[in-house]
């Protein structure tokens, strides 16, 4: 249902987000129908006609209490339902199977693998532009940096978005469940090249990934040493 609306989800926590999205969709949709139907009914029923006199009332305390309390309850429940997904995505990251350092700059994504020594920041680091290769079913930690302005790491099909802020490193994570090639735009205005600052994330099967990693000497087959 409604799946034509959202792009196909191919990451683990994407379902949590989609589930909440649909939940809110039904709640707000219900509220909307309720409000608009009442609204239109009143407009038709109580339109001005000769001889009609409006009801003289300044309000109704029970009603007003009801429509304060009910929305409050709905919203509070919604808040609590949102907490688990948020903490899963942002607060309790699973341990990493593979680290990549992504450095954003006007107007490219620089993707760095640690190289054969398994460490970042050494001479044998392997960097590539606008493409990221990851194995399927593994937790990937994306260590986001920026060289100049704020950019935003956005892969719609993973339901992930995280700004890259100059002067700090921010870690985002995902675990893809389906091999493929996924579009990877920049989602924060970063200058005249913002539109078109775009990379691709390649999700490989385990074998394909091992092959790719060996060919490119990325040294990123195993869990990185920190």
């Amino acid at each position: 249902m409604l799946s034509w609306w959202l792009p196909e989800n191919v990451a683990t926590y994407g379902q949590d987000i989609d589930w909440l999205f649909h939940l809110i969709y039904w709640i707000t949709g219900g509220v909307f129908v309720l409000v608009i139907v009442t609204f239109l009914t009143f407009l038709v029923l109580y339109r001005d006609r000769p001889g009609r006199r409006a009801r003289y009332t300044h309000g109704s305390t029970p009603l007003e209490i009801a429509w304060t309390v009910v929305p409050t309850l709905i919203l509070v429940v919604l808040t609590f339902l949102s907490v688990p997904a948020w903490s899963r995505i942002k607060m309790q990251m699973p341990p990493s199977d593979l680290d990549v350092v992504v450095t954003a700059k006007q107007f490219n994504w620089q993707v760095a693998y640690p190289g054969p020594d398994g460490r970042f920041g050494t001479a044998d680091d392997k960097t590539m532009l606008d493409e990221m290769h990851v194995p399927v079913g593994k937790v990937i930690h994306v260590r986001l940096r920026s060289q100049d302005v704020i950019h935003s790491f956005f892969v719609p099909q993973f339901r992930i978005k995280q700004d890259a802020v100059p002067g700090r490193e921010i870690v985002a994570w995902f675990e893809a469940v389906k091999p493929g090639k996924y579009e990877w735009p920049c989602a924060e205005l970063c200058g005249f090249g913002h539109s078109g600052m775009r990379g691709w994330v390649y999700v490989h099967t385990a074998e394909d990934y091992a092959k790719w990693a060996a060919e490119n000497a990325t040294g990123a087959q195993e869990t990185p040493k920190r």
Binding site: R53, T79, W86, Q162, E188
Partner: protein, 584 residues
């Protein structure tokens, strides 16, 4: 109507009418003239901001083709937008619409016009300061427009101007454009501070006899609260743009990481201002809705006190929700959780208001005049905009929809569907009082219906685009494979936007035609109860004759049982009160 307006004699104050042209129309200290000046400023800027929107829309529907008519201005590219020009276009579209259209019209024009007239004062507390506040705002407008003519073009870092994109010239290539953006908003901050001080002082100190706080019309409440928010929020923006300007011009390091600065500081300061700001944009419209609905439903407002208190609650809460703009900015995720809770809670006062508006309609005798239609559009469209806010308030969902067209849809449902429909309603409703002439209802309908239809055709599909992953602020969506199948929506939206633009033409015609040739307005054309309708149309300098109206009751006494008329003005003496009326 009442003795007050009928017995209008202007003897004592006659000399005030002999002010020269300059003192009457240009450097006037009369709150009503200043209101008209703000209104013209806002309407003029609206054409500009709207045309910029159409330029944006053209580029999005038919990327990199020449925009009709733009060849005159962009001679080098023969009317084809470049990416940097596109960024400039939406930056200035939003800046102009928010700071120079909605704020001048709602807070500036209607704040000035309505506060003294509705509380029964002769003018603002400080008429001279009031005049100054308009001219300083006009100066800010000139500075903002000047940015279009400097080399390097105007500011192009979004209306939010996130540092360091905005704080370092090399990142955008914009030099004086961004500087002028900062200076203009700094100057505008001073203007709105003067205005806010004036409004607050006037409401606190200058109410007519009998006008207790809880007899004030809700629109005065809303403007009063708006003024408090302006007073508290704008200085924070002022401090932020000062830092930004210093970073750009003096080489300070407020937002420069290499010098020990912090880019996110800008976002905190901006949104600490920015969120109260969006309520500054909507609160007056809420007040206007609460004013017009009772008049044309011929019913007292439902839950007056709840209406006033919910606006106060919104004002309080608006200070502690600003972090919902920064869920994915790298801010501490625990903070994100607390901002989610407060953001959800701030929807509650809006819920109260919505249901009270419905309650006002219930059992009424509804007349579909042009102001009423616009007010009804305000209520229904604001609900859509508000409900889309709930999606974003949920932090996990916002991860996906942040910076997509879902946000753009939300923005326009609340600011156009909310504030601009509110402004239209107010203009149609108070035009007779402001200019002494009625507007033309036929042209009014010709304006309202296409606007309403094209508005939805333009902005509703943006939800769908956003959920499809369409980023905002992109120059050319067809560069993305995932967006290519969605491109036809962009075409549809643009056609809607052009329709929306054309739909404003009857409004412009109506406005100017009525200004000079409209039917002369009676004192109280809508049979309304609030004090401004006891002054002549248009009210003279100092508003009432030697005698100020005295207030005898609350503002919404419609269809009182036992009275022959279906409305009981606030200024009507108490002996006329039938037994059925509620006494406040």
């Amino acid at each position: 109507m009442s003795a007050v307006s009928a017995a209008y004699v202007d003897t004592e104050h006659a000399e005030h009418h002999e002010l020269g042209f300059l003192r009457t129309y240009v450097f006037s200290t009369d709150h009503k003239m200043i209101a008209r000046q703000f209104l013209f400023l806002g309407l003029f800027m609206m054409i500009l901001g709207g045309l910029l929107a159409l330029v944006i829309r053209w580029q999005l529907a038919w990327p990199e083709t020449a925009v009709p008519g733009l060849g005159w201005i962009l001679t080098e590219t023969e009317g084809i937008l470049e990416p940097s020009t596109y960024n400039m276009a939406f930056t200035m579209h939003a800046t102009i619409m928010i700071f120079f259209v909605v704020m001048p019209i709602l807070a500036g024009a209607f704040g000035n016009f309505l506060i003294p007239l509705m509380i029964g004062a002769r003018d603002m507390a400080f008429p001279f300061l009031n005049m100054l506040s308009f001219w300083v705002a006009a100066l800010a407008g000139v500075l903002m427009l000047a940015g279009f003519f400097v080399p390097g073009g105007h500011a192009a870092a979004g209306w939010t101007s996130y540092a360091p994109l905005s704080s370092v010239t090399e990142y955008t290539g914009v030099n004086w454009g961004q500087n002028l953006w900062c200076i203009s908003l700094f100057v505008l901050g001073i203007s709105s501070m003067m205005g806010a001080i004036n409004y607050i002082t006037t409401v606190v100190n200058m109410r007519a006899p009998g006008m207790t706080l809880f007899r004030m019309p809700l629109v005065v409440w809303s403007l009063f609260i708006t003024a408090i928010l302006l007073l508290l929020a704008l200085p924070v923006l002022t401090s932020g743009v000062a830092m930004l300007l210093f970073d750009r011009m003096l080489g300070t390091s407020w937002f420069r990481p290499s010098g020990g600065g912090e880019p996110l500081l800008w976002q905190h300061l901006f949104w600490y201002f920015g969120h109260p700001e969006v309520y500054i944009l909507i609160l007056p419209a809420m007040g206007i809705g609460s004013e017009i609905l009772p008049v044309f439903a011929r019913k007292p407002i439902f839950g007056y006190h709840a209406m006033a208190f919910s606006m106060i609650a919104i004002a309080f809460l608006s200070w502690i929700v600003y972090g919902h703009h920064m869920f994915v900015s790298g801010m501490n995720p625990t903070l994100g959780l607390s901002f989610m809770i407060t953001t959800m809670i701030i929807a509650v006062p809006s819920a109260i208001k919505t249901f009270n508006w419905l309650g006002t309609l219930w059992g009424g005798r509804i007349r579909f005049t042009v102001p009423m239609l616009n007010a009804l559009a305000f209520v229904s469209m604001f609900v859509i905009g508000g409900l889309s806010g709930i999606f974003m308030a949920s932090t996990p969902v916002d991860i996906f929809i942040q910076d997509t067209y879902f946000i753009v849809a939300h923005i326009h449902y609340v600011v156009f569907g909310g504030s601009i429909f509110g402004a239209f309603a107010a203009i149609y409703y108070w035009f007779p009082k402001m200019f002494g002439r009625m507007t033309n209802p036929a042209l009014g309908h010709l304006h309202f219906w296409p606007t309403f239809v094209f508005f939805n055709m333009t902005f509703f599909p943006m939800h769908i685009l956003g959920v499809g992953g369409h980023m905002r602020r992109i120059y050319n969506p067809t560069q993305y494979e995932m967006l290519q199948p969605l491109q036809w929506w962009n075409v549809l939206i643009t056609i809607g936007a052009i329709g929306l633009g054309l739909a404003q033409i009857p409004f412009v015609i109506n406005f100017f035609w009525s200004l000079f040739a409209g039917r002369k307005a009676p004192v109280n054309p809508w049979n309304a109860t609030t004090l401004e309708w006891s002054a002549p149309s248009p009210p003279p300098h100092l508003n009432w004759g030697p005698r100020l109206p005295t207030v005898h009751r609350g503002p919404y006494e419609y269809s009182v049982p036992g009275s022959s008329e279906d409305f009981l003005p606030q200024w009507e003496p108490s002996s006329a009160v039938p037994a059925g009326a509620r006494r406040h």
